[in-house]
């Protein structure tokens, strides 16, 4: 089996996806920045399944401020802002269990399929949902 597999691998495409580029760029941050501005292309990631638990999505208008999500969150992602009776989520801490989504009585929370959340600043706009 080993020998056959080794020979076949000379012709097969690699099992891994060369993401975001085939070779290591000089600066990954600059590469992603250029891709964001539409100047350079990156190799797309492997498609994710439909039910994947990605970055949380918050419907601010639906929220009734019951704080049930704050109570069940195991990673203490959710901060309750008492003056507005709304929440703010720090996705950098999120463990993607989506227990808050199950707990929400008015379906104001959902998971999206977005998963590219690596950042150099845990307080960046991309990582705070409110």
């Amino acid at each position: 089996m080993i020998f056959v597999t080794l020979v076949r691998q000379l012709l097969d495409r690699p099992a891994t996806n060369p993401f975001p580029t085939r070779h290591m760029p000089r600066s990954i941050i600059r590469l992603l920045e250029r891709a964001r501005r539409g100047k350079g292309a990156i190799h797309p990631p492997v498609p994710v399944p439909a039910g994947m638990r990605g970055k949380l999505v918050y419907d601010r208008d639906k929220c009734i401020g019951c704080q049930l999500c704050v109570r069940v969150c195991p990673a203490r992602v959710i901060e309750f802002r008492s003056e507005q009776k709304k929440i703010r989520m720090h996705v950098a801490r999120c463990t993607f269990c989506s227990q808050c989504v199950d707990a929400c009585p008015v379906a104001a929370l959902a998971t999206s399929r977005e998963f590219l959340l690596a950042d150099t600043d845990r307080r960046s706009r991309n990582l705070i949902v409110e």
Partner: protein
């Protein structure tokens, strides 16, 4: 005449030296401290000191409500990430008296068994790597990706699936996903014979693992080994067989020993490879049957999270949960008190804790070069197992044994009585 032959086998007879391995060492995947007493290349004594991966998880759990504890328990182990939540949910359901609907029992079984496939393949790759057979490592880990993708598809997460909840499961396996699972299982069914040949028919694997790290049946029983380590030694011990839970009673699970491969068990590394690969085949069968026989019905007995939280707050009692994790029996104990959201006591016993002592007879008589593969043969998981760390303020650790504590206690009584 005797002296002559002894000189060859033990050149420095009577004079041994000690080498430490760990707490941090390239041969170990996780921190643990070994101290080997060597006579030449032979191991004549071994001491093990765990405690370097202690994270205080049980203490953290006692400050959180039970739903939060569930996700904390998922993070006890990174590889068998469903085993601990499955044991914890059983413990809490036992304590609070929550019924689990049959369909949920089947889904828990399916995810648990898919995880066993994933974990055993991972172990097989690690074992091949420890032997210096990296081609086999890459091959095993490449085929492992299929089941990881399936788990991600079924649960939404690649690891830490967040599927069980007290009184059921959080996601259904609809018919379309069932077909997907069947396709992946067929892939493994076709592949498994080749994988077994690659491991068990290979001369170099056999030479490095046969009669290396042997564990006798008597030692396995005496030292309370669990899981594949015990089964490789010929002990027919499996929680799924001995105390069926979830859907295992319907599926007639049987403990697998090397006898199923028509070999008399010796408990060496080769036998643990046999047992784990046969268990992958067994898990494929279990999942296929469970997918076909899964009854329709509810997923959870208390669907509203707010209702579940208040029910658990009112619950009182103690409960235990046992699950046959890929590495052996995992055991959770909880104590709940009415009016308090947090568990009063949460105790975790991971399979590695039981298998740790089996290392001692396994290492005895082996050579230094066999240390990595013997250490890997019980599939150790230190961060699951470490529950205690001994230290004092000066930074030096000291351990008080039972006898010393009794002596101190008696002395105090005498002192008080004058």
């Amino acid at each position: 005449m005797n002296n002559e032959s002894q000189k060859i086998t033990t050149p420095r007879q009577g004079k041994t030296y000690t080498i430490p391995i760990g707490p941090v060492h390239p041969a170990l995947k996780e921190p643990i401290e070994f101290s080997f007493e060597l006579d030449g290349e032979r191991i004549v004594g071994v001491d093990i000191r765990p405690g370097y991966a202690h994270r205080g998880i049980e203490f953290m759990g006692m400050k959180r409500n039970l739903i939060q504890v569930l996700y904390l328990s998922e993070r006890i182990c990174g590889i068998c990430s469903i085993s601990h939540p499955l044991a914890l949910t059983q413990a809490v359901e036992n304590a609070a008296g929550i019924e689990v609907p049959p369909r949920a029992q089947y889904i828990r079984t399916i995810i648990g068994e898919l995880e066993r496939i994933q974990s055993h393949l991972l172990w097989a790759g690690v074992a091949a790597h420890e032997l210096g057979f990296d081609t086999l490592l890459h091959l095993t880990w490449k085929v492992r990706e299929k089941v990881m993708d399936l788990l991600e598809d079924l649960t939404g997460n690649r690891v830490d699936y967040a599927i069980p909840i007290f009184g059921g499961v959080r996601r259904d396996i609809p018919a379309a996903k069932g077909d997907l699972a069947h396709a992946v299982l067929r892939y493994y069914r076709d592949l498994l014979q080749g994988l077994m040949d690659a491991f068990l028919e290979d001369k170099s694997v056999e030479m490095r693992t046969r009669h290396v790290g042997a564990l006798s049946r008597g030692d396995a029983l005496r030292l309370c080994a669990v899981g594949p380590t015990a089964r490789a030694a010929g002990v027919e011990k499996d929680v799924r067989q001995d105390m069926p839970y979830f859907a295992y009673a319907d599926l007639e699970v049987r403990a697998i020993t090397p006898r199923d491969f028509e070999q008399e068990p010796v408990g060496d590394v080769f036998d643990t490879i046999i047992v784990r690969l046969l268990e992958v085949a067994q898990s494929i069968e279990i999942v296929e049957r469970a997918l076909c026989e899964m009854p329709e019905g509810e997923l959870v007995s208390i669907p509203k999270v707010a209702a579940l939280l208040s029910f658990l707050k009112k619950a009182e009692g103690e409960g235990i949960g046992r699950h046959e994790a890929p590495r052996g029996e995992v055991f959770h104990y909880v104590r709940l008190e009415a009016g308090i959201e947090e568990p009063i006591v949460w105790k975790v016993k991971a399979p590695t804790y039981s298998n740790l002592m089996a290392w001692v007879p396994k290492f005895m008589g082996a050579e230094v070069a066999d240390i990595p593969i013997i250490a890997a043969s019980i599939d150790p998981c230190m961060c699951c197992m470490d529950r205690v760390h001994v230290a004092d303020r000066s930074g030096r650790a000291s351990i008080r044994m039972k006898e010393e504590l009794i002596r101190l206690s008696r002395e105090k009584t005498r002192r008080i009585l004058g």
